[in-house]
C-alpha cells in the first residue's frame, strides 16, 4: 500500500468529518424550536457568567426607596430594603443555574451508572436495583426533600446534594431500558463476535448510542432541579441568604410582597423559570424529534 494513497484518503476524510459537524449544527438551527431553546439557554448562560458585570447595583445594599415600583433608575423596582430587584435577579441567575446544572450532572452520573449496572449484570442485581428505583419513584419527593434539607446544614451544597440523591431514579430507568433494547442490536452481537469484552461493549457500543436520550433527560433534570430548589427555598430550606430565584420568592413571601402589591419583585424570578423551562423543553423535544427522524431512515 503506498503512503500517498493513504494520505489523500485522510484529507478526504477530514473533509467528510467537517461536513458532518456542519450538518448537525444546521439541523439544530433549522428547527425553530431548537433555535429558540438554544437562544434561551445562551441568554441565561450569559446572564449567569457575566452577571456581576451587568448588574446595575450591588444587590445587598440599599440603592433606592423601599418598595418602589419599576422606574428608570430601577428597571425592576426595589424590594422591602430598597435593594435593586434587577440586580438580585441577574446575580441570582448564576446560583439557580449552578444548582440546576450540578444537580443534573450528579444525578445523571448516578442514574447512568445504576442503569448501566442493572442492564449489564441483569438478573438479581437488576431486580434489586429496579425495586429500589421503583420505591424512590413512588415515594413523593417533596416531603422527603423537605426532611433531608431540614436535617442538613443550610447551604447551597446541601441542596445540590439532596436534589442529586433524589433526582436520579428516572434517568436510571431510561438508561436501563435503553441498555436492554440496544443489547439486542446486531452491532452489539457483531462486537461480541469480534471478541470484544462485555465491559468494552457496554462503553463503546451501548453507551454512545444512548447519549442523545441521556442528554434529553439531563435537560429535564436541569429544569426540575431549578424548580425544586426554588420550592425548597420558598419553604425557608437551604441557604436562604444566598441570592437566587428561589430566595427572591422566599423573601417576597416572608415580607408579604403579594399583599403589598409588589408584583415587580415577584414576577421576574417565576417568569424566568417559566421561560427557561419552555426553552429547555423545546430543545429536548426538538432533539427527540431528530432522533425519531434518524431512526426512520
Amino acid at each position: 500500500m503506498n503512503n500517498g494513497r493513504v494520505d489523500i484518503a485522510l484529507q478526504e476524510n477530514n473533509a467528510i468529518i467537517a461536513s458532518r459537524a456542519k450538518r448537525v449544527t444546521v439541523a439544530l438551527f433549522k428547527s425553530k424550536r431548537t433555535t429558540f431553546g438554544v437562544a434561551v439557554l445562551a441568554f441565561f448562560l450569559i446572564l449567569a457568567i457575566l452577571g456581576r458585570f451587568i448588574a446595575p447595583y450591588n444587590p445587598l445594599i440599599q440603592s433606592g426607596p423601599l418598595w418602589s415600583p419599576p422606574s428608570e433608575s430601577h428597571l425592576f423596582g426595589t424590594n422591602y430594603l430598597g435593594q435593586d430587584v434587577l440586580s438580585w435577579f441577574i446575580i441570582g441567575t448564576a446560583t439557580s443555574l449552578w444548582v440546576g446544572v450540578s444537580v443534573a450532572f450528579f444525578s445523571a452520573l448516578i442514574g447512568v451508572s445504576v442503569g448501566l449496572t442493572a442492564g449489564y449484570f441483569g438478573k438479581y442485581t437488576d431486580e434489586v436495583l429496579m425495586r429500589f428505583v421503583d420505591m424512590l419513584l413512588v415515594i413523593p419527593a417533596f416531603p422527603l426533600l423537605v426532611i433531608l434539607s431540614a436535617y442538613l446544614p443550610p447551604t447551597t451544597n446541601s441542596t445540590i446534594l439532596i436534589l442529586s440523591v433524589l433526582s436520579w431514579p428516572f434517568m436510571s430507568r431510561v438508561v436501563r431500558s435503553q441498555v436492554l433494547s440496544l443489547k439486542e442490536r446486531g452491532f452489539v452481537t457483531a462486537s461480541k463476535l469480534a471478541g470484544e469484552s462485555r465491559l468494552k461493549i457496554m462503553f463503546k457500543d451501548i453507551l454512545p448510542n444512548m447519549l442523545p436520550i441521556i442528554f434529553i433527560n439531563i435537560i429535564y433534570l436541569v429544569i426540575g432541579a431549578i424548580v425544586a430548589q426554588a420550592g425548597l427555598a420558598f419553604f425557608g430550606l437551604g441557604n436562604i441568604n444566598s441570592i437566587n430565584w428561589g430566595t427572591m420568592l422566599y423573601w417576597a413571601q416572608i415580607e408579604d410582597a403579594a399583599i403589598q402589591n409588589a408584583w415587580w419583585w415577584i414576577i421576574p424570578p417565576g417568569l424566568a423559570i417559566g421561560i427557561l423551562g419552555l426553552g429547555l423543553n423545546m430543545l429536548a423535544n426538538g432533539i427527540s424529534d431528530m432522533i425519531l427522524l434518524n431512526q426512520g431512515r
Binding site: 425495586r131 429500589f132 421503583d134 420505591m135 413512588v138 415515594i139 413523593p140 419527593a141 417533596f142 416531603p143 422527603l144 423537605v146 426532611i147 433531608l148 431540614a150 436535617y151 442538613l152 446544614p153 429544569i223 424548580v227 426554588a230 420550592g231 420558598f234 419553604f235 425557608g236 430550606l237 420568592l249 417576597a252 413571601q253 410582597a257 403579594a258 399583599i259 402589591n261 408584583w263 415577584i266 414576577i267 424570578p269 417565576g270 417568569l271 423559570i273 417559566g274 421561560i275 427557561l276 423551562g277 419552555l278 429547555l280 423543553n281 423545546m282
Partner: protein
C-alpha cells in the same frame, strides 16, 4: 386479564415499597451527621424541645437511650403499628398523629378538587389541542402549557393573590374559614369554606392543568397515528367522529393513569400552596414544623403522605389493569 396471582404480586410489591418508606423514615434522622433529633432532644433547642416531659416520653417510647439500633427499630415499628408517631414538639401535648389527622381533611379537599378540576379540564384542552394539531393555536397553547408546567406552583398562587385578593379584593388572602364567626346553618359554613378554598384550589388546578393537557394532547396525537384509526377513517366515518370518539376514548385511559401517578406533584403543589395561603392543611403544618424544628412532626407528615401516595398509586395501577383491554371499535 387480571389474575389473582398478578394482584398478589402487585400487593407484595406495594408492601415492599411501603416498608421501604417506613424504614427510610427510621433511618434518616439516625444516619445524618449531627443527628439533630437526638442532639436537639437533649440539648434543648427551639420550641418545646426542652420540655422534660416530652423528652422523657419520647425517650421511653422509642428507646432513644438504648444505643442498639435494632432495639430502637423494633420499638419504632411496634409504636407505628399502634399509630404512635411520637409527640409534636411544637403542638405539645398533641401527638403527631392527632395533629396530622386534624389537618389532613383540608389537604385532601385542596388536592382532591384541584386534581379533579385540572384533570377534567386538562383532558378537554388536550383534545382541543390535538384536534388543532399543527396550527398556530396549538403551538401557542402548547408552549404556554410547557411554560406553566415548569413554573413553581406557589408563584402562580402569588400572582393570583395579587390579582384577586389585593388588586381587587374578591377573595380572602388566608385561612380556611373566617376566624371567629358563628354559622347560622351548614350552608353558610360550607359557603365560607368554598369561599376560602377557591383561590388555593384554582391555583393548584391552573398549575396542574397544563401537565394533563399536554399529556392528553400527545397521547391523542400518538393514538391518531395508530392503525385502527386509519381503519376507522377508511370505513368512511367523518373525521370529527373518528377523532372524538375513538382517539379521545383511547387516549383518556393512559392519561387517567398519569393523573394517578402524578400524585407526587399534586402533593408538592398542595403543600406549597397551603403555606402561601396560610391554609391550615398538612403543608402549612409542615412549614410550621420546619420553622420550629419540630422533627417528629416533619417525619410524621412525610410518612403519612408517602403511605397515602403509595396506596393511591397501587389503586390506580390496579384500576388501570382492570380497564386496560382497549375500548373496542366494534
Amino acid at each position: 386479564m387480571i389474575t389473582r396471582r398478578y394482584l398478589i404480586r402487585r400487593l407484595i410489591n406495594v408492601l415492599i415499597i411501603a416498608y421501604g418508606a417506613i424504614t427510610i423514615n427510621f433511618i434518616l434522622p439516625r444516619i445524618i451527621p449531627g443527628n439533630p433529633v437526638m442532639t436537639n432532644l437533649f440539648a434543648g433547642g427551639g420550641g418545646q424541645i426542652g420540655n422534660p416531659v416530652v423528652i422523657a416520653r419520647l425517650t421511653q417510647e422509642f428507646g432513644l437511650n438504648n444505643p442498639n439500633l435494632f432495639y430502637q427499630y423494633s420499638l419504632y415499628l411496634t409504636q407505628l403499628i399502634h399509630g404512635n408517631l411520637g409527640i409534636s414538639f411544637y403542638y405539645y401535648p398533641q401527638t403527631v398523629y392527632s395533629v396530622i389527622m386534624e389537618r389532613l381533611p383540608w389537604t385532601l379537599l385542596l388536592a382532591g378538587s384541584g386534581t379533579l378540576i385540572a384533570a377534567g379540564s386538562g383532558i378537554l384542552v388536550g383534545i382541543y389541542l390535538a384536534w388543532k394539531k399543527g396550527t398556530i393555536r396549538d403551538s401557542f397553547f402548547s408552549s404556554v402549557g410547557m411554560m406553566i408546567s415548569s413554573i413553581p406552583y406557589f408563584w402562580i398562587g402569588m400572582i393570583f393573590l395579587i390579582l384577586f385578593a389585593v388588586d381587587i379584593t374578591i377573595f380572602p388572602v388566608a385561612h380556611a374559614v373566617t376566624p371567629g364567626v358563628t354559622y347560622h346553618n351548614i350552608f353558610s359554613y360550607m359557603g365560607d369554606i368554598l369561599y376560602h378554598a377557591f383561590l388555593p384550589i384554582t391555583t393548584l388546578a391552573v398549575a396542574l392543568l397544563p401537565i394533563y393537557a399536554l399529556q392528553m394532547r400527545n397521547t391523542m396525537v400518538t393514538v391518531m397515528h395508530e392503525d385502527f384509526m386509519k381503519t376507522a377513517i377508511a370505513k368512511g366515518l367523518p373525521d370529527s367522529v373518528v377523532k372524538m370518539r375513538y382517539a379521545a376514548r383511547n387516549a383518556v385511559l393512559p392519561v387517567t393513569t398519569h393523573v394517578g401517578l402524578s400524585l407526587g406533584y399534586v402533593v408538592a403543589g398542595a403543600l406549597m400552596i397551603e403555606y402561601l395561603f396560610a391554609y391550615p392543611g398538612v403543608g402549612y403544618t409542615l412549614f410550621i414544623a420546619i420553622q420550629n424544628e419540630d422533627y417528629p412532626l416533619m417525619q410524621g407528615i412525610f410518612l403519612i403522605i408517602s403511605l397515602m401516595v403509595i396506596a393511591a398509586n397501587f389503586l390506580v395501577d390496579i384500576l388501570y389493569t382492570y380497564l386496560d383491554p382497549r375500548v373496542n371499535l366494534r
